[in-house]
Symmetry: C2
Subunit: 89 residues, 2 copies
Amino acid sequence: MNDLFKTLSDPTRRKILELLKEKDLTAGEISNNFNISKPSISHHLKLLKNVDLVYSERRGQHIYYSLNTTVFQDIIHWILNLKNNGEER
Amino acid sequence: MNDLFKTLSDPTRRKILELLKEKDLTAGEISNNFNISKPSISHHLKLLKNVDLVYSERRGQHIYYSLNTTVFQDIIHWILNLKNNGEER
DNA sequence: GATTTATTTAGATATTTATTTAAATATCTA
DNA sequence: TAGATATTTAAATAAATATCTAAATAAATC
């Protein structure tokens, strides 16, 4: 849970997710959207993978990244638990 | 939006929110729940206030903190936008 | 008004995190 | 298999963040 929030707390990583929302992209295509070095983007992708927010799959020379939204359930549960003050709703 | 995620990315701050879910607490009562100095807790409370996750109100000698959950709407919107891939649902 | 209690502010330090350049790995093509 | 492209890993640096102690502010009580 902590890693998940930590991962989402970086604007570069959130923008990566927004890019992947549209379609799967290679690491290179992703890095083209930023003024940041490729190794830095690769590092962000690794963190996103660590918490399962993205998947990666090699297709030949390229590695394609895709978004996984199921993880957000955890956040929504955390929020709802905080909102419903102990009541069973 | 960035500040909000950043604020939530710290476990101490999230635990503070969970404490405030039960009832309003003074800064001192909050800090009793942690093995962290009062100034550090005060700093966390300031960050939580900055993004409106908590309110503070002085009652005499004490300052009471309370949880504000309306802010979570922003996060939920952000998540839903990412999940609904452009479709209007 | 001096003292006590509650909390914050300031300044310093240590840890974490993002970023960079350079080198390594993997795949494809000629 | 040599060369080109795509991506990651490693090592170093810089910036951001959490934490601490000490000092400052604010209200209550004596």
